[in-house]
């Protein structure tokens, strides 16, 4: 499809370690359209951050081993692209926002210099021009007194400001795709709201496609157009944002949504999913969710279901979904 900015087919990542192999990502497919924000939702250890790094080709090998059948960014085939050429694409055509800005920024370099670097690398600008652009970029993400803030070190900025710097960094070259890995998790709620607002504006204004990686359903509700729900290395459900909140099909998604307490909620007890996420080295046979699933029966214990549904619409990986995907298709 011409409108697809990111196309990932069958991405797999494994971490061999002394006790066996951690199967972190087990063949995920993603399609992100132009200007769209797709969210990859899951709990810790489900492989969502690893997928993001794998798409950026930033995973260190060793310790990771990574295979993918198809990885296209717009009209660029990145599937077998060598490292050297990948360097020209990162930062320019695809960029990443990391979770913890305190550790994601070099502590001994002024934030201005860290943004300058990206202009100096990807465009033929002089140092002075680069700094000018840096200041403009910082102003765009609503950093007050951008000119002087550019000369401060990361530790001199507040958490919210640091996260804005990361956003400015990612949008510097107006890439085709932004991958935001838990962009607001480390922040306080009021600051979180500010930063999400900035991120959303930047994405909409520049019409940049985004892959949002998060465990926080409320962030998804606020940002995403499409949602991929991941569980133990596999995508278990795919849907448009509204649909997934209104009518989740997978029992896991359903349980997750129900278990999150809401302001507009009736009182206790909370709906709960029993047990915990399986250890990535000891995943159960069959459907990975079956030990925690209220609907599981024999086939669930034996066979992993497929992600089924229309090519571009809702899909669910379950033997007993709450409803069949084609039934709910609007």
């Amino acid at each position: 499809m011409a409108d697809t900015v990111l196309e990932v087919r069958n991405l797999k990542v494994a971490f061999p370690c002394p006790g066996g192999v951690i199967r972190a990502v087990e063949g995920i497919d993603l399609d992100i359209h132009r200007g769209e924000c797709a969210a990859l939702v899951g709990e810790s250890g489900c492989g969502k951050s690893v997928s993001a790094l794998a798409i950026m080709k930033l995973l260190n090998t060793p310790p990771a081993v990574c295979r993918v059948d198809k990885l296209w960014l717009d009209d660029l085939d990145l599937t077998h692209l060598p490292d050297r050429q990948m360097e020209r694409i990162r930062g320019k055509h695809m960029a990443m926002i990391f979770q913890d800005a305190m550790t994601a920024l070099n502590p001994v370099m002024t934030v201005g210099k860290q943004i300058d670097e990206i202009y100096l690398r990807h465009s033929r600008l002089s140092r002075r021009e680069a700094r000018q652009r840096t200041i403009e970029a910082l102003e765009l993400v609503e950093v007050p007194e951008a000119r002087s803030r550019a000369n401060s070190y990361p530790h001199q900025l507040s958490g919210g400001m640091r996260q804005r710097v990361l956003i400015a960094l990612a949008f510097a070259c107006v890439p085709k795709l932004i991958i935001a890995d838990e962009p607001t998790t480390a922040l306080d709620v009021t600051i979180q709201a500010q930063v999400l607002d900035v991120l959303k504006n930047m994405q909409r204004v520049h019409r940049v496609s985004a892959l949002l990686i998060t465990h926080d359903l409320s962030v998804v509700a606020n940002m995403a157009d499409t949602v991929y729900v991941m569980y133990a290395g596999k995508i278990v459900e795919r849907a448009a944002m509204q649909e997934i909140f209104l009518e989740p099909l997978h029992p896991y998604t359903h349980g997750l949504l129900a278990s999150v307490p809401r302001i507009s909620d009736e009182r206790q007890p909370f709906v709960q999913i029993p047990d915990a996420v399986p250890h990535p080295m000891r995943k159960p046979t069959g459907c990975y969710f079956h030990p925690r699933c209220p609907r599981s029966n024999d086939p669930c214990r034996q066979r992993m279901p497929r992600l089924e549904g229309p090519d571009d619409g809702r899909a669910v990986r379950c033997w007993h979904p709450l409803r069949q995907p084609h039934e709910v298709r609007s």
């Binding site: 709990e43 009021t190 709201a193 999400l196 465990h215 606020n222």
Partner: protein
């Protein structure tokens, strides 16, 4: 809900409690500064209720919780537990009084000694008190393991064998083995996976019911607090901004900070659009908090007087107090004073 009318004597009572921490540099010649973690907080927790403390990081909520159970000595003010001034007790009586109060920690990974088996961890409080025989302790630990949903076999495992949720269960078992009446839960679920939150919260509430416990629940998640707490305080930079019954506060939030906090909680109700109040700027440092109302720099409706006149908690309706000049207004004297005082040219944000 267990009761509506306040007890004649609250279980825990704090009066004008302040906690300051000295910050010392690494060398003997460096200056000392003070962090004003909690300033002038008064509150009452009645028997059997769940009392919420809400605020963002650095607002002093954990320090306040620690001051309640005698882990941090307040610089000023009194803490009365069952009517007894906790910090006026002699060491022995203090130790005995604390038997009734326990704590559940935020991070289940650092709150269990990795060298201890689950049995050793859970029985530790009994062991320290030294009043029970090994068989008694074993029986007690078994009973608690069952209560928190773990197996008998888990007794001889080590914390590293458990997931975050299971570890938190172990922590809960340890905290109730002495049969306390008062339990402080310091963000008990924020370090856990989303799908485990509900399990732990339900477990806590079951235990509360079966053992008639009083909870102080510290959290940054308003939705959780709304659902489990009867009374609550909203804290900002070490001071209480709004307090009262959670029904009253959620039905009618009055303080601009509470409103902003509420609107910033991104509810997953996607059908109705909500207008969100975005606060400007960042939380100031507790080392040098702003004069006047602590919130004025970020307040969307700050007035001139807010910069100099501290706001006091006033009762606006039964079970609902707010510390905001928008509600209480300024007295004539305060207005007169603020006219003489030069307003600092620095604006907020």
């Amino acid at each position: 809900m267990t009761r509506n009318s306040p007890d004649p004597q609250p279980l825990l009572e704090m009066e004008n409690v302040s906690v300051d921490f000295p910050v010392k540099g690494p060398y003997p010649f460096s200056k000392k500064c003070w962090i004003q973690a909690v300033t002038d907080v008064s509150l009452e927790v009645s028997e059997g209720e769940t009392f919420g403390i809400v605020g963002e990081s650095g607002c002093g909520k954990t320090t306040l919780a620690n001051a309640m159970i005698g882990m941090v000595r307040p610089t000023a003010g009194t803490v009365r537990f069952q009517g007894v001034d906790l910090y006026a007790l002699n060491p022995k009586a203090f130790k005995e009084a604390r038997r009734e109060m326990q704590m559940i920690f935020q991070d289940p990974f650092s709150s269990l000694n990795p060298r201890f088996s689950v049995y050793e961890i859970i029985r530790e409080p009994l062991y320290i008190r030294g009043q029970a025989s090994e068989t008694v302790m074993k029986g007690k630990v078994l009973e608690l393991l069952k209560l928190v949903g773990l197996d008998e076999e888990d007794m001889y495992r080590y914390p590293s064998d458990f997931s975050g949720g299971q570890r938190q269960r172990i922590g809960i078992a340890r905290s109730i083995i002495l049969n306390p009446r008062f339990l402080v839960c310091d963000e008990p679920v924020s370090a856990l996976d989303v799908s485990v939150h509900a399990q732990i919260l339900n477990l806590l509430m079951d235990i509360q019911k079966s053992r008639h416990l009083t909870y102080v629940f510290v959290s940054h998640n308003l939705a959780v607090v709304k659902n489990i707490c009867q009374n609550m305080v909203v804290m900002y930079l070490g001071m209480i901004m709004e307090s009262g019954s959670s029904d009253a506060i959620f039905a009618n939030p009055l303080h601009p900070y509470t409103k902003a906090l509420l609107s910033a909680v991104l509810d997953i109700d996607v059908t109705k659009p909500r207008d969100r109040i975005l606060l400007k700027g960042d939380t100031p440092s507790p080392i040098d908090p702003p004069a006047g109302c602590r919130f004025w720099q970020r307040c969307p409706s700050a007035m001139k007087g807010c910069r100099t006149v501290p706001a006091k908690l006033v009762e606006v309706e039964p079970d609902h107090q707010v510390a905001c000049h928008l509600i209480s207004g300024f007295s004539a004297q305060q207005v007169a004073d603020s006219l003489h005082e030069p307003v600092s040219p620095k604006s907020g944000g």
